[in-house]
């Protein structure tokens, strides 16, 4: 280790080695390619902005234009995004838990990693998180339900809900004291709300209005559809992220 260091200090700055070339060359190439994209100086195209400003409320019922795009005009991308999140959570948990074919000598020794999670579980933490959890949960639902009016929405609310659930699971003295923090329940909520999102996406097709449209344009106001999608996304994200975090916390015990 030390020898290497002295080697590096001895190396003259102008000395060209294959290592340096392989470090600098891609950087140079990439920067040369990216410069024209960074240097665009045309005026910002604003025809879509004007269109949205005049008709987004009428068409989607959301005052928050980002929400109207996120769950209205471009809801299909949001579906893709929730699928990515779902896949990542499932995959991460599978990889953490996978029993490994160990036919190698480098087996994992538990001694290397002192279990610090117990240190986390102080009386103070128990009380604070236990009391704070429900409040944060309420706030998460607020962010989720009012996403079409104010900043926030299903995803952001979902992450807040997830942190509330993690608080609750840290605060509960014995594991699984709350129904909401059981992995099975979280998994079920996640799958069900993903299903609900898909059903909402397909409902428009069954009533003949097309994919990702409000199924009953005359019966539902437009913002009801966005609120429903917000709830589905929020619950799904909340359940998924909290499931991942709880699994990670418990993994080291």
């Amino acid at each position: 280790m030390k020898k290497n260091k002295t080697d590096i200090t001895k190396r003259k700055w102008f000395q060209i080695t294959p290592g340096v070339v392989s470090e600098i060359l891609p950087l140079l190439c990439v920067s040369a390619v990216l410069v024209p994209v960074f240097a665009i100086s045309l005026p910002w195209p604003d025809q879509t902005k004007k269109y949205l400003f005049s008709s987004a409320i009428l068409e989607t019922g959301a005052q928050n234009l980002v929400s109207s795009l996120y769950l209205g005009y471009r809801a299909f991308d949001t579906l893709g995004e929730t699928v990515v999140l779902l896949t990542a959570v499932t995959g991460a948990i599978m990889i953490i838990k996978s029993s490994v074919h160990t036919n190698n000598s480098y087996t994992f020794s538990q001694q290397n990693v002192p279990s610090k999670t117990r240190m986390l579980r102080t009386e103070l933490l128990d009380t604070v998180t236990g009391k704070l959890g429900p409040v944060v949960l309420l706030f998460g639902f607020y962010v989720m339900l009012f996403g079409h009016l104010s900043p926030g929405g299903g995803f952001q609310g979902g992450v807040v809900i997830a942190s509330a659930i993690v608080f609750l699971s840290l605060g509960s003295k014995s594991d699984g004291a709350l129904v909401l923090t059981k992995p099975g329940v979280l998994l079920w909520i996640e799958a069900a709300s993903f299903g609900a999102f898909l059903i909402a996406a397909c409902a428009g097709m069954i009533t003949g209005n097309g994919f990702f449209t409000n199924p009953f344009p005359s019966g539902f106001p437009a913002h009801a559809y966005i609120i429903f999608l917000n709830c589905a996304v929020g619950l799904k994200v909340g359940a998924g992220v909290s499931f991942l975090c709880i699994e990670m916390i418990q993994n080291k015990e």
Partner: protein, 114 residues
């Protein structure tokens, strides 16, 4: 203009880390950094198109273009998913080779499979 140069610098910092750093967690840091560089670029350039947040309220006239924001919302989430997945893979790699050095991981895995 200075802002764009800074974003470019941020991007190069991250990309350089992915290529040069040997520690796998640092490589994942680099991935997060280049992702945030592109997000900042979108939002910064998008903000030039108006002077208030894209929420329609009485009195608001000139909002910024909401499309870059909606796109970046998706990109941020996807970036974090990839980071989380990469880190679980790092964890698995560590349990096998007890190292975070990419060359050492490669060498140990090569040794055990041959």
């Amino acid at each position: 203009m200075i802002e764009r140069c800074l974003i470019f610098l941020l991007f190069l910092t991250g990309f350089h880390a992915i290529i040069v750093r040997k520690n796998v967690i640092k490589k994942v840091f680099g991935l997060g950094i280049i992702n945030s560089a592109v997000v900042i670029l979108f939002i910064l350039e998008g903000s030039r198109s108006g002077n208030s947040a894209p929420i329609i309220q009485p009195g608001v006239q000139d909002v910024v273009d909401p499309i870059p924001q909606a796109l970046m919302l998706t990109a941020v989430v996807i970036g974090v998913c990839l980071t989380a997945l990469a880190l679980t893979l790092v964890y698995r790699l560590y349990t096998h080779s007890l190292s975070l050095h990419i060359d050492e991981i490669r060498r140990k895995i090569h040794d055990t499979t041959h």
